[in-house]
Amino acid sequence: MDTAADKAVIAACSIICVLFAAFCAMPLWVALVSSFTNENTLIREGYRLFVKDFDLTSYKLVFTGSSDVMNAYIVTIVTTFFGMALTVLLTASLAYPLSVESVKYRSKISFFIYATMLFNGGLVPNYLLISRFLHLRDNILVLIIPAALNAYNVFLMRNYFATIPPSLAESARIDGATDITIFAKIILPLAKPILATIALFASMGYWNEWYRVLLYIDNRKLFTLQFLIMRLQQQVDFLTSNLNASARAALGNLTIPTIGIRLATAMISIGPIVLLYPILQRYFISGIMVGSVKG
C-alpha cells in the first residue's frame, strides 16, 4: 500500500513528466499549426497556437512535382526494417560475449571497438571503400550494411547483458548447453528492454539516413524520405550561408524554400516513426509493473 508520502512522490513525478512532455510538445504543436498556416501570415505575424489563414500550399508543394515521395517512403521503410534487424542481430552477438567474464580478451576487444568511436578516417577513404572496392554505389545495401554496427550500441547492450546474473548461463552450461544456445534461449529473452531500445535507436538512424544517399545513390528509385527533405534543408543552408552576393546573383532566380515547406517536411518525416514507437515502447516502459523478468 502506498502511504501519503508515497502518493506525494507519485504526484510529484507525474507532474514533472507531464510538464516536461508539454515543454517538448509545445514547439511541435506550433510547428504543426504553422505548417498549415499561410506563409505570409506566418512571416508577418509570427507563430501562433491556433491556425489562422488555413493553407495547404506547403503540403501541396512538397508532394507535387515529385512522385518520388511515395517511392521514398517505401525505400525508407525497407531500409529501416532490414537495417534494424541486422543491427540488433550483429550488435547482440558481438555484445554478449563481451559481457561474459570468462572471455579473456573482452577488455581488449572492447577497447578495439571503442576506438572506432574516437578515430575515423574521414570521407575520402570511406568513399573509396564503398565505391571502388565494395562497388556498392547505387545499391540499396549501402544504405543498410555500413550503418549496421556501431560501438555505442554495442556498449549499451553489453552493459545490459552484464546485469543478467551469470549463474543463469552457468547452470545451463552445466546442463550441456553451448554458448550459442545459452545466448538464444536464455539471454535474449531476458534482454527484451535493451533489444527494443537498440531496435528503436537503429530504426531512428536508418529512418533519418540521408548523407549516404547523397554520396552513394544517384538512382532516384533509391532515394529515401529524409534525403528529399534534407536536400531542401541543405539548399536553404547553402543559399543562406555559403555564397557571397555575386555568386548568388550568378545562380539566377533561386528562392529559399519557405518556412512552411520546411515545417511541412519535418511533420511528414515524423509521421510513421511515431507509429513504430508505441510498439517498442511497452518493452522498456513497463518496468517493474511486469514483475520478474525471469518470468
Binding site: 506563409e39 554520396l215 532515394f223 545562380l251 533561386l254
Partner: protein, 563 residues
C-alpha cells in the same frame, strides 16, 4: 590492449599495401594531361560511336521536370552526328565540389563537372592541382562555330586561369546570363511609395524618404532588409547606391575584394605599379590613400559605416539583422518594405509579391547610377563568370563534351530547347529575346532547368515578357559586351595557394567586419581598430603583399591604361 592494437595495425598495414599495390595502374598521375587535347572534327560525316557522358552539377531539385523528354528531343536532333547520351547527376550546392574530387579519387567516370569559384575545392584549386582539362583549342576554332560565336575573346581571356606552370588557359566553359554583374536593384513597394506621396524611388534621397514614411506609418514593417547572416551593407553596397560619381573617372582602384572575401583593396600608381592597402578600411593606409585620384581623394572612409549605423539605430532594419537569412521572404510577405537583389530576378520577385499581397505593386530602383542613367559604356565589368563546365583530366570524352556544348551554342533554337524546354509546350517565344509561359502552365511541373549549369549566354538569353522595358534595357546593356567596358583588373584571379593558412585565419575575422558593415557595433572607430588588429594577427599584411605581387605580375602583361 596491446594485442588488439598491434594486430589491428598489422592487418591495416597489410590491407594498405594490397590496395596500394593495385592502385599503381589505376590512378592517373596528376601531371599528365595539362596539354589540351587535339580536338577531333565534330561534324564528321558518319556518326561516331555512341557514348554516354557523365555530368555532375548542383541543382535545387533532384530532377528537372520533363528533363528526359527534352533530352530525347536533343538526341533526336543530334544522333546523326553527335550520338551521345547524357547522364546528369544532380547534387547539392554544398556537395558538388568535394564530389568531383571523390569521383576522381575513386576512378569513376566523369566527363562534365560544374565548377565555380565557390565550389569546394574551387575552380582555381582544381586547376592548380591539374584536375581539369585545358579547353583552349576548342574556342575560336572553326570546327566549333557555336563556341566561337558565343564566347568572345575578351570574355574568354577574363575567364582563363593560371595553371601550376604559370600559363593562362581556359579550363571551364563560362556561363553567365550577363557580362557585367553590377545589375542590382532595390526592390520596393510601389503601392506604398505612391500611398505616402513619394511616387517612385529615383534617387538616394527619395529612398530615404520612403524609408521614413514606412517607419512612421507602417507599424510592424521594416523599411528595409538584408540577409545580414552573409551580407554587409557597408561599404560595398551602400557605395554603389550612394555614389553620385561616375565610376569611369580616375578610377585606379579596385572596388571589390580581389581575393574573394577578405577585402584587400589595390590601387595602381602613376608608375603602373600596384599597391595593396594593408588596412581593411583601405583609406587608412596612407600609401594607398595618396594614390587615389580625382573625386576619390576626398573619400570619407567612415561614410558608409556611419550610414549603416544610422540605418541600424533608426530602425530601418531589424535589430537581429545578423541572423536574418531570408530577406526576399520578408519582402514578399510584407514584413519588410524593400530589399536588394539582382535585376534578373525581377519577374520572380514581382510574381511572388503581387501574388501574396493584394494590391501590392513591385517597384525596382536600379542602384547603380551609371546603369540607371543609361550613359554609354556605363557599366564596368571584370567579365568574370561565376559558373563553369569543366572536363576532368580523367575523362576520355573531352571532344564529345565540347561538341555537345558547341551544338547548344550553335543556334538560338538549340539553346532554347535545353534552357526553356520544348517550344509551345513549356514556353512560348516572344520575338527573339523574350518569352512567356503557355496559358495555364503550372510552374511546379513545368520544365525548370537551371541555365547556369549548361546553357547561359547573354547572346541567347530571353527575358520574361512581363519585365518592364527599363529593366530589360538595363539588363541588355549589361549583357552586351559592346556596351560594357572592361575593368583594368579583368582577367586577374588570385591564387590563394601561397597564403592559404593566413586566408583561413582571416576568414575567421570576416564576420566581425560584416557586423560592422551592418551597423551593429556602437563605437565604429574602436571596432575598426579591433578588427584591424585581428586581421593583422591573422596575417593580413602577408596576404596583401601576395595580392600585390600577383597583381603586379598581372599588370606586366595587362598594363593599366586608365579606366
Amino acid at each position: 590492449m596491446k594485442f588488439s592494437l598491434k594486430s589491428a595495425m598489422a592487418l591495416l598495414t597489410a590491407l594498405l599495401f594490397i590496395t596500394a599495390g593495385c592502385a599503381g595502374n589505376g590512378a592517373a598521375t596528376p601531371a599528365q594531361n595539362t596539354q589540351a587535347q587535339e580536338p577531333a572534327a565534330p561534324a564528321a560525316p558518319a556518326a561516331p560511336e555512341r557514348v554516354t557522358l557523365e555530368f555532375l552539377a548542383p541543382a535545387p531539385v533532384t530532377q528537372f521536370n520533363d528533363f528526359e523528354k527534352v533530352w530525347e528531343e536533343v538526341y533526336k536532333r543530334t544522333d546523326s552526328f553527335l550520338n551521345v547520351r547524357v547522364n546528369y547527376t544532380l547534387t547539392t550546392f554544398d556537395d558538388v565540389g568535394q564530389r568531383i574530387a571523390l569521383k576522381l579519387n575513386a576512378g569513376e567516370q566523369l566527363d562534365g563537372a560544374f565548377v565555380a569559384p565557390w565550389t569546394n575545392p574551387s575552380l582555381v584549386q582544381m586547376i592548380s592541382q591539374g584536375l581539369l582539362t585545358n579547353l583552349d583549342s576548342y574556342f575560336g576554332n572553326p570546327q566549333y562555330p557555336g563556341l566561337a560565336d558565343c564566347f568572345p575573346a575578351d570574355f574568354l581571356e577574363a575567364n582563363s586561369f593560371l595553371d601550376s606552370s604559370g600559363s593562362k588557359h581556359v579550363y571551364g566553359v563560362p556561363f553567365a546570363s550577363s557580362i557585367a554583374s553590377t545589375g542590382s536593384a532595390l526592390y520596393y513597394r510601389k503601392d506604398l511609395a505612391e500611398k505616402y506621396g513619394i511616387g517612385e524611388i529615383t534617387s538616394y534621397e527619395t529612398m530615404i524618404k520612403y524609408f521614413d514614411a514606412i517607419l512612421a506609418n507602417e507599424p510592424g514593417m521594416y523599411p528595409f532588409t538584408i540577409s545580414g547572416a552573409i551580407d554587409e551593407l557597408a561599404p560595398g553596397w551602400l557605395a554603389s547606391l550612394y555614389n553620385e560619381k561616375s565610376w569611369t573617372t580616375d578610377h585606379n582602384w579596385k572596388i571589390g575584394p580581389l581575393d574573394g572575401t577578405n577585402g584587400i583593396y589595390v590601387a595602381v600608381g602613376d608608375d603602373g605599379k600596384a599597391y595593396a592597402s594593408r588596412q581593411f578600411v583601405p583609406e587608412y593606409d596612407p600609401v594607398y590613400r595618396a594614390m587615389l585620384k580625382g573625386p576619390y581623394k576626398d573619400n570619407d572612409p567612415l561614410l558608409f559605416y556611419n550610414i549603416a549605423r544610422e540605418w541600424y539605430t533608426k530602425g530601418y532594419f531589424e535589430k537581429d539583422i545578423l541572423n536574418q537569412k531570408d530577406p526576399e521572404g520578408q519582402f514578399v510577405s510584407g514584413k519588410a518594405a524593400s530589399f536588394q537583389r539582382g535585376l534578373d530576378t525581377y519577374i520572380g520577385i514581382a510574381n511572388r509579391l503581387e501574388g501574396s499581397i493584394a494590391g501590392a505593386k513591385i517597384g525596382a530602383f536600379i542602384t547603380d547610377r551609371d546603369i540607371r542613367l543609361n550613359t554609354t559604356k556605363n557599366a564596368g565589368s571584370d567579365f568574370m563568370a561565376w559558373n563553369f563546365l569543366a572536363v576532368p583530366t580523367t575523362s576520355k570524352n573531352a571532344d564529345r563534351v565540347m561538341s555537345l556544348v558547341n551544338w547548344i551554342y550553335e543556334s538560338q533554337e538549340n539553346h532554347d530547347l535545353l534552357e526553356y524546354g520544348i517550344e509551345g509546350e513549356h514556353w512560348i517565344a516572344d520575338g527573339t529575346d523574350k518569352f512567356s509561359y503557355p496559358e495555364g502552365s503550372d510552374p511546379s511541373t513545368n520544365y525548370n532547368f537551371t541555365g547556369y549549369i549548361l546553357t547561359w549566354t547573354p547572346k541567347y538569353y530571353r527575358y520574361a515578357s512581363d519585365i518592364p522595358d527599363n529593366i530589360v534595357t538595363a539588363m541588355k546593356k549589361l549583357g552586351n559586351i559592346e556596351t560594357v567596358y572592361k575593368t583594368y583588373y579583368a582577367g586577374f584571379t588570385f591564387n590563394p595557394e601561397p597564403v592559404q593558412t593566413e586566408l583561413t585565419r582571416m576568414n575567421d575575422v570576416v564576420a566581425y567586419r560584416r557586423a560592422l558593415g551592418c551597423g551593429v557595433p556602437e563605437d565604429i572607430n574602436a571596432e575598426i581598430d579591433r578588427i584591424q588588429k585581428l586581421f593583422d594577427e591573422a596575417g593580413f599584411a602577408k596576404v596583401a603583399e601576395e595580392v600585390e605581387r600577383q597583381f603586379n605580375e598581372f599588370l606586366k602583361s595587362n598594363p593599366y591604361e586608365g579606366q
